[in-house]
Structures are given as C-alpha cells and as structure tokens.
C-alpha cells in the first residue's frame, strides 16, 4: 500500500524535489533593504512567522510592529505610519488582506496613494488548507483598485529584487508572497526584475506562454518537455499584473503562435483576462488558452495532488499545450 499524501497545511511547499531553493527570500530582502533605508518598518497581523517577516523582526525588533489578528487595524495603522513618513511592509495572508480588509486597503492606503507595501502569503493555490486560506481570487479582487500595483513573483530571485523596487515606487503595492523554501529558477536566465515589465525568458516558434508567479517556473519546465515533443515554445514572464506591460504583450501576441496564459489564480479576473482585455483594447484581439485555477472553491489536500488535479502541474500544462496545438 502506498503512503497517502497529507495536507501539510500551512507549511506546504510547491518546490519540486530536485529544485534548488532559497530560504525566506522576502524576509532576507526586507532586512537588507531596512539596513539601507531607515524609514522601512515591518508590520503584521499575527502572521510574522508565516510570512517570513520574522527574519526582518529578529534583525530590526525596534522597527517591527505586531498588530494582532486584526487586518483592518494592520492596514489603517500602516497608512498612519506612511502619513508620518515611514515605508511600511504589512504582511498577512492574501485571503485576509483582500477579503477582510479591502476597505482599509482602499480608503486608507490606495486613495491617498501611500507607499504601503502589502505582503500576501498563500496566494492562489499554495496551501492545501481549503478555501479559508486559498486566495484563488486575490488578483481579481484587487485589480479594480485604482493606483494599486500588483506583483506576482516567480521565485527567490524575483522576490529579492521586487522588495527594493516596491519600496522605491511611491505608491501602494501588493506582493503575492512565496515563502519558506522558495525555488531559485531565474538565476539561470539573463533576468532582472523591473516593476511593470514583462520579460521574455526564452523564444519559440510554435507557442508563446505568458505566465506570472510560480507558474513561470512550471512554464519553463513545460517548455523543456515540449521541446522533446518537437514543439518549440517561448516563455514570457509577467511578474507585474498591474500595471500590465501592454507593449511587450501586444508584441509577443502579434503572431500566429498558440497563445497560452498560465497563472496561480482563478481563470476569472486574473492574468488571462488582463491579457485578453489588453489585446482587445489594442486592436490585437485573438484567441488564447487560459491555464489557471477553475472558477470554484477548491478542495483541501496535499499540494502536489491539488496542483495535478487543478491543472497547475508541469504534466498537465504539457498535455494542455499539446492539445491546444491540435
């Protein structure tokens, strides 16, 4: 009898067994940034240990604010800190940031345009804990908020570079946090994170995969496997969902290659629909194949099982692209 996989709840990892990883890249990047910029403060709503904020907290205890399990307070207080000149990073889980504290994020932070950086743990399907903790619709909720930048990094390299860029940008930002042992993938590529820019990681004649977040590492892996099937696939990584890099996307879509979007988010209201509306508005409308989470509340379970079931695994991507090639 084979061993049954367990949920492993909040510490689930999406790293593949053979992948190199880096521990707590967000926490270390924030601590590094704080060493250079004394206005940076870290805040959390009882999830410091689970958002890698503890790395910063240990190094800069006098700049760390525990607000208790109170997300509206977290964002209101972060706005108050910004009002007097600090640059807060406020960390909680994505579900609580978006579903519970939307009004505080909107009215206290986004409308006045404060440089408050929201850090959302467990974005999309990165926990097997069920719908209470799976933020499968966080981008859809936040995309309509004027002035909010949304960052969905791929790996430890992306995350480390995104943190100082978010602080340097004067407005509010939402970061979809990958935490714990985070895969290191982009060091193999000639890549630098730039806020608002999409980057072509590899070229390909037959299809172009536009991906964000952890789905970029799956797209890169799928591209390798697809080449063994004789299919030559390009990968364009799009770590900023809003504002979207329209010029790059319109340029990449301007061909007869199969266009595929890949995201760790519901197919409703996320990257796929962002790309589609961009193409329509630029008179570059064309069909695309959206790979993402289904429009439903997902089940609890072990993360590898769920990624396979809901289509985020490399194998599922390869099959979808081959089917799409017809």
């Amino acid at each position: 009898m084979t061993k049954r996989l367990t949920t492993s709840a909040m510490i689930a990892s999406f790293a593949d067994a053979d992948q190199p990883t880096s521990p707590a890249p967000f926490g270390h990047a924030l601590a590094r940034l704080a060493g250079e910029n004394e206005e940076v403060v870290g805040m959390t709503a009882d999830l410091g240990k689970y958002t890698d904020m503890h790395v910063f907290a240990e190094k800069f205890p006098e700049r760390y604010y525990q607000m208790g399990m109170a997300e509206q307070l977290l964002f209101g207080a972060a706005a108050g800190m910004a009002e007097v000149g600090y640059v807060p990073f406020a960390a909680t889980y994505s579900v609580f940031a978006t579903r519970r504290a939307y009004d505080a994020l909107c009215l206290d932070i986004a409308e006045p345009g404060h440089n408050v950086n929201i850090v959302g743990g467990l974005p999309g399907l990165t926990t097997g804990y069920g719908p209470s903790h799976q933020a499968t619709e966080d981008i859809a909720i936040l995309r309509a908020m004027p002035g909010l930048t949304i960052v969905d990094p791929c790996d430890s390299v992306d995350t480390e570079q995104a943190v100082p860029a978010m602080a340097a940008d004067p407005g509010p930002t939402y970061l979809r946090l990958l935490r714990g042992k985070v895969p290191t993938v982009l060091d193999e590529y000639d890549y630098r994170f730039e806020l608002g820019k999409a980057k072509r990681l590899r070229g390909g004649r037959d299809a172009v995969l536009v991906s964000s977040g952890l789905m970029t590492m799956r797209a890169l892996k799928a591209a390798e496997e697809l080449s063994e099937h004789g299919v030559d696939v390009a990968v364009v990584h799009c770590p900023t969902i809003k504002p979207l890099d329209e010029a790059t996307l319109v340029h990449e879509a301007d061909s007869d290659r199969l266009l595929v979007t890949l995201e760790n988010h519901s197919v409703v209201g996320g990257l796929a629909e962002s790309v589609a509306s961009t193409l329509v508005r630029n008179n570059a409308a064309r069909g695309l194949l959206p790979i993402g989470l289904p429009d439903e509340f997902l089940e609890a379970g072990a993360l590898p099982t769920l990624h396979e079931r809901y289509g985020l695994s490399t194998d599922r991507i390869v099959r979808r692209v081959l089917d799409g090639m017809g």
Binding site: G68, A70, G76, A79, V84, A104, L107, D108, P112
Partner: protein, 288 residues
C-alpha cells in the same frame, strides 16, 4: 491664595468666552453652508460645535498658515460626514478662508460633503467609511512617537462608529502599545442612520468599556464648555501612558431649538424658510 484662585477663574472665563464665540461663529457657518446645499449633517455639526471649538481654540498645536507643519497635533475626523462642522472650525481657526465656505459641496470645491484629505487643507484623513479613524490614529501615534515627536494624535469619532469592529481592534492596540499620545473624542449624540443608537446597537456602559480596554475614560456634557475643559484637563493629569478618551454627550441641532431633537435628525432636511428662523434662533440663544 484666594487672589490666585480668582485669577485662575478669570483666566478660565476668558478662555470659555473665546471658545463660546468661536463655537457661535462656527454654527453660523454651518447654517450658511447648510442653506446653500439645502440639506446635510447640519444637526450633528451644531451638536459638536462646542467640542470642535474647544479643541481648535484651546487644545491643538497647529500653524494655520502651514497645515502640514510636521510638529502639529493631528486631528483625525473619521466621521467624514461631519465635514461641514470641521470646515467651519478650520475657517475659524484660520486654516481656510471664511469666504471659501461658500463653495461647500459645489463642483470643483475643495470642501466636498464627505471629508477628503486629498481635497482640503487641514483635513488629515478621508473618513466617511466608519471605523477607519482609530486604526490610522494608532499608526500615526506609533510613528510620531518613534520619531520623537511631542505631537498628539486626536481621533474624533461618533457613537455609531463604536459599532465598527475596527475601532475596537485599534482600541486594544493603543492600550497594548501604551499610546499616551493618542486622545479619542467621541460624539455621543445617541443617533445613527437607522435610528437611536440604543435601538441599533447598545454600547453602554461606555466609560467602563474603555477603562477595561486599558484607556483612561471621562464622560462629559459635550455642549457644556466648563465640562469639556475640565474633562480634557482631567485627562491631561493622567500621568500613565494610557491612551485617553473623552466621551461627549451632545444634542443634535444644539443652539437652534427648531432643529434640536427634530425627528429624522440624522440626515436633516430643512425647509427653505426655516434657515432664517434657525439663524434668528441662534442669535436668540446667545442673547438669552
């Protein structure tokens, strides 16, 4: 000794008459703005004029010509629908020109019906959605203390706002962080959108509640200047690092008998011919 006491009493009397005159002029501005618009939160504004006059005439450290002076005390109006009252106070305090009040709630005005920090000099935050003021105040108080500033953060909220959970999240946090630089002032007018506060969501016993949350709480008649001054002063004497709260019972429409405790007073409709009566009654209230 008795000579010194008399002198102190005289000084209080001078302060009180200054504040009373400030509040009286505020009420005139409120009626003028309300008439131009035909409706609005006139009742609440009349009710809190004594509180705002006390705060702006006697309490706050600020520079009217420099609303962003970094050392200023912050006054956070989380009850954004009371904007009409704060515009009147800001005009009397010299932050706004009295003439600008004529633009109230008109297109392109810096004085919208609901308070917006991005529009109005002296308006520290955009309220309106209730329960935001105190969380913001906590962040500002933490930040100012960290900067070594002596500035105080005042949060002016309403009894209806005590329904909001975020207010109590912030109340716990303010006590936890021992924010002695935070002062809350509550307008207890016993009225909210759907009716009497007691029928919507009863909050009493308020002094006990706030004290049990780790605050120093005092309750006064918010339309009695002596009580307001004494209330603030008794909070000043608290030498602990507790956050402080002044709970102020007020009368909606105070100073204008026609409007006091009028039915449907929350968002008050005033007939055209009544504005002049209101103005005359306001004058009468001073003479009597």
């Amino acid at each position: 000794m008795s000579y010194a006491t008399n002198e102190a009493e005289d000084a209080v009397d001078v302060r009180k008459s200054d504040i009373a005159a400030f509040a009286h002029r505020m009420r005139h501005h409120v009626i003028d703005m309300g008439e131009a618009q035909g409706q609005g939160y006139v009742g609440q504004a009349l009710g809190v004029s004594d509180i705002l006059a006390t705060v702006y005439r006697d309490r706050l450290r600020f520079r009217p010509e420099q609303p962003q002076w970094p050392e200023r005390d912050r006054f956070l109006l989380s009850i954004g629908h009371y904007a009409i009252a704060l515009y009147a106070a800001l005009a009397e305090a010299g932050v706004l020109d009295v003439e600008e009040l004529d633009t109230y709630a008109t297109d392109g005005s810096r004085l919208p019906m609901s308070a917006m920090a991005t529009y109005t000099p002296g308006m520290e935050i955009s309220g309106g959605s209730l329960g935001h003021g105190m969380p913001l105040a906590v962040g500002m108080a933490l930040g100012l203390r960290k900067r070594g500033s002596r500035a105080l953060v005042y949060n002016f909220l309403s009894d209806g706002e005590l329904n909001e959970g975020a207010t109590w999240e912030a109340a716990m946090s303010a006590a936890h962080y021992e924010l002695g630089n935070l002062v809350a002032v509550v307008d207890l007018n016993a009225l909210q959108a759907d009716g009497a506060t007691d029928s919507v969501l009863r909050a009493d016993p308020l002094v006990d509640k706030w004290e049990s949350f780790g605050w120093r709480a005092v309750r006064v008649d918010g339309n009695d200047l002596s009580q307001l001054l004494r209330g603030f002063e008794s909070l000043d004497r608290d030498e602990s690092s507790r956050p402080r709260i002044l709970l102020c019972d007020t009368t909606v429409g105070k100073g204008v008998p026609l409007l006091e405790n009028r039915e449907k007073a929350h968002f008050m409709r005033v007939d055209e011919h009544e504005w002049q009566i209101a103005r005359e009654q306001l004058e009468g209230s001073v003479e009597s």
